[in-house]
């Protein structure tokens, strides 16, 4: 559990090896192969590269470590400016010399910021932020595969990663440096900057999103003035994802950051935060690609509950409202999340939601998909949930009994049947009197249900008959009217006709 100000140890590269080890050595062979393929196929950095009007020839500058102290800052600044030159990575052989010079310069900058003190003086801030902006901010290219499925397909990897990674690394070291002064940085890392940073979370490249996650977390931790703005913009990204596009690659990463942000919320929860839970986090469950970020989402939801138990009812009723109707895979995820929630639920809150909740659980138990039924039945293996059920046996048993009884007789899957027998046995031991009563009245209840259904059918039949008759009489009335050539007050006489019909 981390608070927003504490730095998590999840930096994409550990501090000791970060800047000196070339990126390729840190990834295994498989992604590297796919990266090669990606470079051949993709025009991934073109959108950015296009805007570089004339290519500048780079000349190597002296090394930072050899520079006399008096010239150090000046040299640092020159290196930053040198790193503002962008290269075409689609053409692997273009300007290899220039690429190498920039790579070496970036490496030096990273090392210098990470290891030496007193480098980050005020005039360097705008230069550093400018270098970062020029390199990382770009319109992400169209996805090669319009049906990109993050679970199945290989992501498109950023062609200019050899430079981009070092720029991100530099940014991270910059933010983490003991010399870093938020009061100076906030002039350059402003709202516009953050907005562009957030848009980059849509990158298909997971390596880039990993860096962005850590960086945004640092920004959130250090630049207090931007916090509300960051939360609001994340909201907007999520709402757009939920209700407009259903596409955004960085949902999981943003949720991960939010997980720790929620943890740091002050009590009592502000209404802004509750609204975020009810209107953003809960509707996020409707997304088609839920499986990609469900773990992070469930974590956020549980965080909210642990902060303030009174939101429990909103959460459970929200989940029930968005319960998947046709996607069993998602249903299993929902059940998993419900169990996580029940694990930490307060008994007083449980009572408020038990009725609708156990109706849904009963529906899951009767699912023909055995994984759904099985997942629901596993709740009875959870000791805490079992104790809640036992305390409220009088309410819950009647809700689920009919389903258990019926499914125990007709489910196709043997495992489900034996699980149900165990559950029935548990109930019998809990409250044998109630159990016997329910068994005895099962048939009568069934009959009652059938009768009700019949009545409903009858009601609708006669309603529809009447509907027909009324339509006929309305048609007749209008025909009569035409005959009479009474063009005025059409509506009035029509309502009179129908009023006459009702008496």
């Amino acid at each position: 559990m981390e608070t927003p100000t504490k730095l998590p140890p999840s930096s994409p590269s550990s501090p000791t090896t970060g800047f000196s080890v070339p990126s390729a050595e840190k990834v295994d062979g498989f992604p590297r192969r796919s990266m090669r393929r990606a470079r051949q196929r993709r025009s991934h950095s073109s959108s950015q590269f296009r805007y570089q009007s004339s290519q500048v020839e780079l000349t190597p500058l002296p090394l930072l470590k050899d520079a006399p102290v008096a010239e150090l800052h000046d040299l640092f600044c020159k290196k930053l400016q040198q790193c503002c030159v962008l290269f075409d990575f689609l053409d692997c052989v273009a300007d290899l010399k220039g690429k190498e010079i920039k790579r070496a310069a970036l490496n030096e900058l990273v090392e210098s910021v990470a290891t030496s003190r007193g480098v980050l003086i005020e005039p360097l801030y705008p230069e550093a932020i400018k270098m970062i902006s020029v390199n990382i901010f770009r319109t992400l290219p169209p996805s090669e595969n319009p049906e990109f499925d993050p679970e199945e397909d290989e992501p498109a990897l950023e062609a200019s990663w050899p430079h981009l990674q070092l720029v991100y690394e530099f940014f991270l070291r910059f933010l983490e440096s003991p010399d870093f002064q938020p009061s100076l940085a906030k002039r350059y890392v402003d709202q516009k900057f953050v907005l562009q940073l957030l848009e980059l979370f849509d990158s298909e490249d997971p390596r880039e999103r990993e860096y962005l996650k850590t960086i945004l977390h640092r920004v959130y931790g250090k630049l207090l003035g931007l916090r509300a703005y960051i939360r609001k913009q994340i909201n907007n990204i999520f709402l757009r994802f939920i209700y407009e596009t259903e596409r955004f690659n960085g949902v999981a990463e943003l949720l991960e950051i939010l997980g720790s942000i929620i943890n740091g919320f002050a009590l009592p929860l502000k209404s802004e935060h509750k609204q975020f839970l009810v209107r953003v986090l809960i509707p996020l469950h409707t997304a088609k690609s839920l499986s990609i970020f469900h773990a992070q989402l469930a974590y956020c939801v549980v965080q909210f509950m642990e902060k303030d138990a009174t939101v429990t009812e909103h959460i459970i009723r929200g989940l029930l409202r968005y319960w998947p109707k046709t996607c069993t895979q998602k249903e299993v995820m929902f059940l998993g999340e419900i169990e996580e929630i029940l694990d930490v639920i307060e008994p007083s809150q449980f009572i408020r939601v038990q009725e609708p909740l156990f109706k849904q659980i009963a529906a899951c138990i009767s699912s023909p998909h055995f994984q759904v039924a099985e997942r629901a039945l596993y709740f009875w293996n959870n000791e805490y949930i079992l104790s809640l059920i036992e305390e409220n046996c009088q309410v819950i048993l009647p809700l689920v009994f009919g389903t258990l009884y019926r499914v125990s007789k007709e489910h196709w899957n043997q495992t489900i049947i034996s699980l149900i027998y165990n559950v029935l046995k548990t109930f019998m031991e809990m409250n044998s009197k109630l159990f016997d009563d329910l068994t005895a009245s099962y048939k009568v209840e069934k009959q009652k249900e059938l009768k009700k259904e019949k009545e409903r059918a009858e009601l609708w039949r006669s309603l529809e008959d009447q509907h027909e008759r009324r339509l006929q009489s309305l048609a007749e009335a209008s025909r009569n009217q035409k005959n009479l050539q009474e063009r005025e007050n059409t509506t009035k006489s029509q309502s009179e006709t129908s009023a006459a019909n009702t008496t």
């Binding site: 709402l239 209700y243 609708w460 009447q466 339509l471 509506t491 309502s495 129908s498 009702t502």
Partner: protein
């Protein structure tokens, strides 16, 4: 009690409301979908006083139910007592216009727009416009988004003071804090501009358009492009240059490819909106840039518009512009690295020949057609072939036939059956244009080969193709070239091929006519009724049913009937079933 007697008894509203509150969502949904039945049962007055308040109060349900409700209410005017009471429908629709789910909200807005026309001008000001205002100043973005779609329907019919208010509200929403609302406003900007007086278009809309077109989010900017096209159509020519062109020029060079894509996608509309002079000076270079864009998506969208763009160029300079500015770009696109770009181009490039005329087509376009006919991507080749008719009119297809043939043969034998299927579809067109001689010589064998393809869909399409060919070339041609080959397959050792004979006969009997059917096809069908494979036999029964109407009644009675009767006593139950069906359909029993 309910419905027992013939006169219209009153239902207690509670019973009906119980139905709307049923625990089972599906039942609730069914009830909502029949809401008009309930309303009719209640009568107009109780619908107004009891049903609508209930619906307004209980709007917290599954989105599916809300969607159905929003749709129903759009058609409720008569059920509440006609236009003078239509405003009673506003409260529930207002709530629905604020829910989270976009689909529900959009439907509610659609219904509100619909019933707005049924309001009298007074009701519009007293009831409708205040609702729009409430939505426009709602707390949560959903209601403000919905409001964007309602301004244009009430604006034309309200007083000038209210009009000023409406303009003010729209202005506020265009600079809303949430991008969702700005997107909604941008997407309705063009529509709103259309109902405004020209002076306000110039004073209000232009500044909103300029602001939205330079929004920080590209999703807003791209929506402004479409609005720009609508606005341009509203303005007099002399104002265009100063008021919209700077913004549109900037959009065509936007740093986000999505915005540039939108410009490319709307290019023809834009061209029509700005007129010939601006087209010549501004759009031609912009179009060239889009055709050379660094993102394939943009190039493909622009390539799609090449023909339309050229067609709409001012006549006096059309040819020069195409030859000097457009054609060089098109030439490059023919060898583009992206297949979507090439196939987009291939689907329109043939259309240029009618615009450029015979000589230019032969000199400049033909090499491009030929290059595309040899493209590695089958879709490109298919697109060229599917548009052959345009070229045929200008230079005749003979010019192409040398290159056409290898392309067709290659597609006809493509490893992907969907490609083969696509080329089959164009066969009748090709046959018509190449003529019967060329066809017999070069393509006939292909058409016959498809009949024995190992994919059923291809065999099926091949039979349909034969029918269309006969329609083109006539029965006599069929008798000489196709029928013998088709009938020959009746002796094939593979029962699937024998069945293909039957399918062909089904397709051909009608176009070939009674004589050929009776003389040549029927004996083969009869012979196949003794086939040892049951599937063949029951297809014989099906075929006889199918070709029965072509035959004369004498033949039916004396020849077909005995065969079907024999099949009706077959040992296989499917054969029996289809034989009996044929007997009853042909009324031979």
């Amino acid at each position: 009690m309910a419905g027992a007697d013939s006169d219209d008894s009153l239902y207690p509203i509670a019973v009906l409301i119980d139905e709307l509150r049923n625990e089972d969502v599906q039942l609730r949904l069914n009830s909502i979908k029949k809401l008009s039945t309930i309303a009719l049962a209640l009568g107009v007055e109780r619908t107004r006083t009891e049903l609508l308040p209930f619906l307004t109060d209980t709007i917290y349900d599954e989105d599916e139910v809300l969607l159905a409700l929003a749709e129903q209410l759009g058609n409720f005017t008569m059920l509440v007592g006609g236009p003078e009471y239509v405003h009673c429908l506003l409260p529930p629709l207002e709530s629905l216009a604020t829910v989270e789910e976009t689909v529900v909200r959009d439907k509610a807005v659609e219904s509100l727009r619909k019933i707005s026309h049924e309001h009298s001008p007074v009701d519009l000001e007293v009831h409708f416009e205040p609702l729009v205002k409430r939505l426009a100043s709602g707390d949560w973005f959903t209601s403000r988004t919905s409001a964007c779609g309602l301004f244009s329907v009430c604006y034309p019919r309200v007083s000038s003071t209210v009009k000023a208010e409406i303009r003010q509200h729209f202005r506020t929403l265009c600079s809303d804090d949430t991008p969702m609302v700005r997107r909604a406003a941008a997407s309705k900007l063009g529509e709103f501009a259309k109902v405004l007086e020209l002076e306000y278009v110039k004073s209000d809309i232009i500044s909103l358009f300029t602001a939205l077109a330079s929004d920080e989010q590209d999703s807003v900017r791209l929506l402004a492009v479409e609005a720009g096209v609508s606005i341009a159509t509203l303005l007099p020519q002399e104002d265009l240059e100063a008021l919209v062109m700077p913004t549109l020029r900037q959009a065509a060079e936007d740093k986000s490819w999505r915005v540039r894509y939108m410009v490319a996608d709307k290019f023809s509309d834009l061209q029509k909106a700005v007129g010939p002079e601006i087209t010549k000076n501004d759009l031609v270079p912009a179009f060239q840039n889009l055709l050379k864009d660094c993102e394939a998506e943009v190039r493909a969208a622009a390539a799609n518009k090449v023909k339309e763009f050229c067609e709409n160029l001012p006549e006096d300079s059309r040819e020069t512009i195409i030859m000097t500015h457009i054609l060089p770009c098109v030439k490059e696109l023919v060898s583009d690295t992206n297949q979507h770009v090439k196939s987009a181009l291939a689907s329109v490039i043939m259309g240029l020949s009618t615009i450029l005329g015979k000589d230019n087509t032969i000199e400049h376009l033909l090499p491009l057609f030929l290059a595309q006919l040899k493209d590695e991507c089958p879709e490109v080749r298919l697109n060229i072939i599917s548009n052959l008719d345009c070229v045929n009119e200008v230079i005749g297809i003979r010019q192409l036939s040398q290159s056409l043939l290898p392309a067709i043969v290659e597609l006809a034998e493509d490893a992907k059956w969907r490609v083969r299927l696509a080329i089959i579809e164009y066969m009748p067109l090709l046959a018509g244009q190449l003529g019967v001689e060329f066809f017999d010589e070069k393509l006939n064998s292909l058409c016959m080969a498809w009949l024995v393809d190992h994919v059923y869909a291809i065999r099926e399409a091949a039979t349909g193709n034969l029918m269309k060919l006969v329609e083109k070339f006539g029965a006599e041609w069929a008798q000489n070239t196709i029928v013998p080959k088709v009938l020959g397959m009746a002796n094939d050792p593979n029962y699937l091929h024998r069945m293909t004979t039957l399918f062909c006969i089904n397709a051909l009997s009608e176009v070939c006519g009674q004589e050929i059917t009776t003389k040549h096809m029927l004996p083969v069908v009869f012979k196949m009724s003794n086939d040892q494979v049951a599937n063949v036999r029951f297809n014989v029964a099906k075929s006889l049913q199918k070709i029965g109407p072509v035959l004369d009644s004498n033949c039916l009675q004396t020849e077909v009937k005995p065969v079907l009767e024999k099949l009706a006593s077959d040992q296989d139950m499917d054969v029996k079933y289809f034989a009996q069906e044929a007997i009853s359909v042909l009324s031979l029993a």
